[in-house]
Amino acid sequence: MSEATANEIGPHEGITGLVDDWAADKQAYHVPWGKAMMWIFLVSDTFIFSCFLVGYLNVRITTTEPWPAQSEIFALSFGGDPIPLILIAIMTFILITSSGTMALAVNMGYRKEKMKTFWLICATAAFGASFVGMQAFEWTKLIVDEGVRPWGNPFGAPQFGSVFFMVTGFHGLHVSAGVIYLLWVAFRVKRGYYDEKGFEIVEIAGLYWHFVDLVWVFIFAFFYLL
């Protein structure tokens, strides 16, 4: 693609390559700068989410009040007996589906299949939007029907509400921002904005989207399952 980013790569891989990349008084990361910056942003975002999750770990350990039974609180009934945690399971599957369509979009982008890329990104954004919709439903159910508040709830430890709103809210904000970002990239792809510049942007947007899915993997395990 563009020659500007092709700062020469030395002959070595692995540890020798690492020494080369850092010691040769030149560009250290042999990737487009946008991608390096996205990775650095994601590393910093990792720390923010980690602060929330470690904070959750700490209140979960220290509180002597019983932790509410997530499995039953997030159960949903489709006419019959409530199925435990089903809404969260559906949300998890939706996010994984969207991660898959995004991975395909990145691939199609590099193949310069513009329309396929456009539609795959749109599908990803649509899955993301439905995820946020379900989250809104879940929040409404907890706030209105169950009376869960950031400072208390009828089930047990009051910290449950604060952790729930903080962690899922911050993640939902990431998903919402991601949907907007993806749609923006999708329409620029369609309009041919990247025909000359190359399609790295799809991969960069993809990194962000996979990261959002990655964070959900941890939230799903630590907040909903354990």
Binding site: Y29, L57, A103, G156, V217
Partner: protein, 126 residues
């Protein structure tokens, strides 16, 4: 290997990882559905979690194909979090134990479930 040409890989690997992620999520959900408890629950949930996270970072985010300089920049700094997690669990356990031992908190308190709070709808007679 990474280059300015970008990350181009056969589609097959994405489909395989995609299916694998579905299966692993299904397993995680099954742990809850079949109400596995105790140490086994923790082991299973955390194993599936790390497998899923690993595959997303390695394949979907292309980390296995990146050069080591970038991979270490991504994965290196977050490892210090292990230290934070360790410290906070030690500190947390101490706080909890102190609350039980000196503040009279109940060791055997049990959380209420939505069913208990709203009453079992099927059992009520009007």
């Amino acid at each position: 290997m990474a280059s300015a040409e970008g990350q181009q890989h056969p589609l097959g690997i994405y489909y395989k990882i995609w299916i694998l992620l579905f299966v692993l999520s299904g397993f995680s959900y099954a742990v809850d559905y079949f109400d596995v408890q105790g140490a086994l629950r923790w082991t299973l949930v955390i194993t599936f979690m790390f497998l899923k996270a690993g595959f997303i970072v390695a394949i979907f985010m292309h980390a296995v194909w990146e050069r080591m300089a970038l991979v270490l920049t991504i994965l290196g700094p977050p490892t210090v979090l292990l230290l934070l997690i360790g410290f906070m669990s030690i500190e947390g356990s101490y706080t909890e134990e102190a609350r039980f031992a000196y503040m009279g908190h109940d060791r055997d308190a049990v959380a209420l479930t939505p069913a208990e709070l709203h009453g079992e709808e099927g059992e009520e007679e009007h």
